[in-house]
Symmetry: C2
Subunit: 396 residues, 2 copies
C-alpha cells in the first residue's frame, strides 16, 4: 500500500511548498536574534529539589516569545516573565489544531557550561512541522541564538546532576482571530522550560508496553512524521487503557500485519539474533508515518560507528517479534526519545499475551540490558560533555 | 483492509470507555443549566450589516463558559462579556491537540422566534468527540438549555433574513497545566457566536473542488469521524494548493482506488443515473473515517421520505465518477454541512483533468441543479420555521 517513491515526491513537494512560502515572507522581517530584548521578573520562584521534580510540572521564571504576521513577518523576540497567554477564543489554535512543538534539553557540564544536544535537528524538524500545517518558517540558527540567551537568563534552573536537565519546549501556535478554516495569518512562537529528571516515575527502570490493535496513530501521506498537536490527543485513550492494565505506554502498530511503529513518547529499537545467529539492531524506517527522533538518529549513528552488529532500518512485525521471543532470539528492546533518552523495555503485551524481553542475563537485579545501558551511557556522556562530540553545543 | 464488524466493536468499546469515564465523574458536579449566571457587557458592539458579514470574523458581545476539573466536576456555567482566554503556556490545548468543537446555527423565524436545528445531534457528536480524546462528558440537554439562555442574551445579533443566521461554536479544550502527555485533569467548555451569511464568498453559486491524491485526511481506526482540532490543520496545505489553482475546496480521497470521502468543510453527495437508468443519490458511508454530518443525515432522511429515487450510502470512487461523467450519467453533485448548508458543485479536478458537473439543464444561468435546490430549500424551510418540523427547536 505504501509507495516510497511517491512518498518521497510528496515530501519534496511539501518542502518546495514551504520554500515558496518562505520566499513570500522573506520580504518581511525574518526572525532575528540580534533584536532580542530581555525583561527579567521582579520576583523569582524558589528552585525545586531534583528529587521532587515531576516531568513537565515546574516552570522557570521566564519565557521566550516572538510573534508572526503574514504581512509584517517576525516581531523582535523577547524574554519576559513566565505568564499566561491571552488569546481570543476564536484563535485558530483552539479550533483547528494549529500547533506544533519540539522537545529538547539543556545540560550543565562539570565545568558549569550550558550545553544543547543537536539543536539544529530540532530546528529543522520544527520547520518541517510548521510547513505541514501552514504555519510560518523561521531561521533555526536565529532561534538557537535566542534560546542560548534565554538559557543564560534561566541558568540557575539548569540542574547539574547527571540524569537531570532543563527541558525546553519550543512551540508554535496559530493565533488568527477567525473561524474560517484558512492558513493562519498570525502565529506565536514561544519557548518555555522546566527542570526535569527521568521521564517515567520508575526512573531508568525497565518499562512495560501494551501493543495497541484497536486504534491507528498514523497513515501513509498523513502527518505521523510531523510533531504536531493533532498526533497526540488521539493517543490518550489507548494510553489510558494501557495504564489501567499496568503498562507505562502503548505501542502503536500499523497494518494488517501489525508492524511496530513507535511508542507515543519514543521511537522503538529491538536487538534480535537473526536465524543465522547474527545480532541485529532493528528499528522501523522513516517512511513518513513515524517521528524522526533525534535520539533515534543518534543511536543509529553510534551503532554504525561501533560496527559491532548489523544496524537495520526496516519493517518489523509483532508476529516476527513474538516468534523471535519464543525462539529465545530477542536480546533487548528499548525506546529512545528526548524526554526519556533511552528506556529499557521488559514486557510487551500483544493480543492478550505478555512477551517477556530479557534485561541483563548476567545480573538478574539489573533494570536494563548491556546494549541499552551502553547506548544510554554513550549518549549521556556526550550530552553532559563528559566526552567531547560535535553533537554537544556549548552555548556560553 | 477495513473491517466493518471490528470497527463497530471498537466504537462500542470507545462508548463503553466513555461511559465508565462518565460514571467516574458522576460523583462530581454535572453540567447544570439551572446554575447558569449571566453577566452582561457594560458596552455592546454595533451590529454589522448582513451584506458585510464574513464567515467567522464578527463575534457577539458575550460568551458562554463552564470549567471542568476531574475532582470537582463541572463549574456553574456563565454567560460573560466576550473576552480573551487566559491560559498557561503549558496548557494541554497548546501542545497536544486537546480540543474539539461543533458548528451549529440559530435562526430567527418570521414570528421573531429563535430556532435551533437538531441541536441534540451536535451534543451527541460533541460527546463522542470528547470521549475520543479523553476530554470530559457532559449532559447535552443541559448545554442546550445554557445555549438557549445565551441566545436570548444575544438575540439582537441573530439575523432574520433568510440565508443568514447566528453561527454557534461550542468548543472544549484541555487546560491541564503540565507537559506530561496525559488525559487532561482540567478542561474549559466555551461557546462563542457570530452572525453569518453564505460560507463561500461566492454565495449559493456552484463551487469547484480539487481531488487531493497527495495527502490523506483520515483512515480506519483513526479519528476521521470525530470533530477534533487535529483533523483540520493538516488540511490547510492541500486547501492552499486547491485555492491557488482556483478551486474553493479540496476533496479528500482514500485508498489506492481513490474513494471519495468528504470535502474539508462538508460531506459530499452525488446524484448519478446507474447503468440501468435509475437515479441514485450516493454518499460515502459512515465507516469511521468521515464526519457524521447533521446536514448529511437530514438530506438522507428527506430523500428517503420523498422516495423518488434510490438513496445509497456506499463507497464510490473517482474513476467511477469519472466514467459516469464521461457517459453523461452524472446528474448533480453537492456538498452538505452546517456552515454551507447545501453547496452545488460544478467542477471536480481529478489527476489534472476537470470533470464538469451539470447544473440546471433547463436554465444555463442557474448556479445549482434542481435536486440541489430542492434539498437546500427543504432544509432552509425547516430551519427558518417556514415548515413546522420536529428538527427545528423553538427556544423562546
Amino acid at each position: 500500500m505504501f509507495n516510497a517513491r511517491l512518498y518521497s515526491r510528496i515530501r519534496i513537494n511539501a518542502l518546495a511548498q514551504s520554500k515558496r512560502f518562505n520566499a513570500t515572507i522573506s520580504k518581511n522581517a525574518p526572525l532575528d536574534a540580534s533584536k532580542l530584548s530581555i525583561k527579567t521578573a521582579d520576583v523569582v520562584k524558589p528552585l525545586v529539589a531534583n528529587k521532587d521534580l515531576v516531568f513537565g510540572k515546574t516552570f522557570t521564571d521566564h519565557m521566550l516569545t516572538a510573534k508572526w504576521n503574514e504581512d509584517k513577518g517576525w516581531s523582535s523576540p523577547e524574554v519576559t516573565p513566565y505568564a499566561k497567554l491571552e488569546l481570543e477564543p476564536c484563535a485558530a489554535v483552539f479550533h483547528y489544531g494549529s500547533e506544533c512543538f519540539e522537545g529538547m534539553k539543556a545540560y550543565k557540564d562539570k565545568n558549569g557550561k550550558i550545553r544543547l544536544f543537536r539543536p539544529d535537528m530540532n530546528m529543522a524538524r520544527m520547520n518541517r512541522s510548521t510547513a505541514r500545517i501552514a504555519l510560518p518558517q523561521f531561521d533555526g540558527d536565529e532561534l538557537i541564538k535566542c534560546i542560548a540567551e534565554y538559557l543564560k537568563t534561566e541558568e540557575r534552573w539548569i540542574p547539574s546532576e547527571r540524569g537531570y536537565s532543563l527541558y525546553l519546549r519550543p512551540t508554535m501556535i496559530g493565533t488568527q482571530e477567525s473561524l474560517g478554516v484558512n492558513a493562519p495569518s498570525d502565529a506565536l512562537l514561544f519557548v518555555i522550560a522546566c527542570p526535569v529528571g527521568p521521564y517515567y516515575k520508575t526512573g531508568f527502570a525497565a518499562v512495560k508496553l501494551m501493543a495497541t490493535t484497536e486504534y491507528v496513530r498514523a497513515w501513509p501521506r498523513g502527518t505521523g512524521d510531523a510533531k504536531i498537536g493533532g498526533n497526540y490527543a488521539p493517543g490518550l485513550l489507548p494510553q489510558r487503557v494501557a495504564a489501567k492494565a499496568g503498562y507505562q505506554q502503548n505501542l502503536w502498530l500499523f497494518g494488517e500485519d501489525h508492524q511496530l511503529t513507535e511508542v507515543g513518547a519514543m521511537n522503538l529499537f529491538t536487538m534480535i539474533k537473526n536465524k543465522q545467529g547474527e545480532l541485529e539492531l532493528i528499528t522501523p524506517p522513516l517512511d513518513g508515518s513515524i517521528l524522526p527522533g533525534v535520539t533515534r538518529d543518534s543511536i543509529l549513528s553510534l551503532a554504525r560507528e561501533w560496527n559491532e552488529f548489523k544496524v537495520v532500518e526496516r519493517k518489523i512485525t509483532m508476529p516476527e517479534l513474538r516468534d523471535a521471543s519464543k525462539e529465545g532470539r530477542v536480546v533487548e528492546v528499548f525506546g529512545a526519545g528526548t524526554a526519556c533518552i533511552v528506556s529499557p523495555v521488559k514486557t510487551i503485551s500483544y493480543m492478550g499475551e505478555d512477551l517477556n524481553i530479557p534485561l541483563d542475563p548476567n545480573d538478574s537485579t539489573s533494570q536494563a540490558g548491556p546494549y541499552t545501558k551502553r547506548f544510554s551511557e554513550a549518549i549521556m556522556n556526550i550530552q553532559y560533555g563528559e566526552v567531547e562530540h560535535p553533537w554537544s553545543v556549548v552555548i556560553n
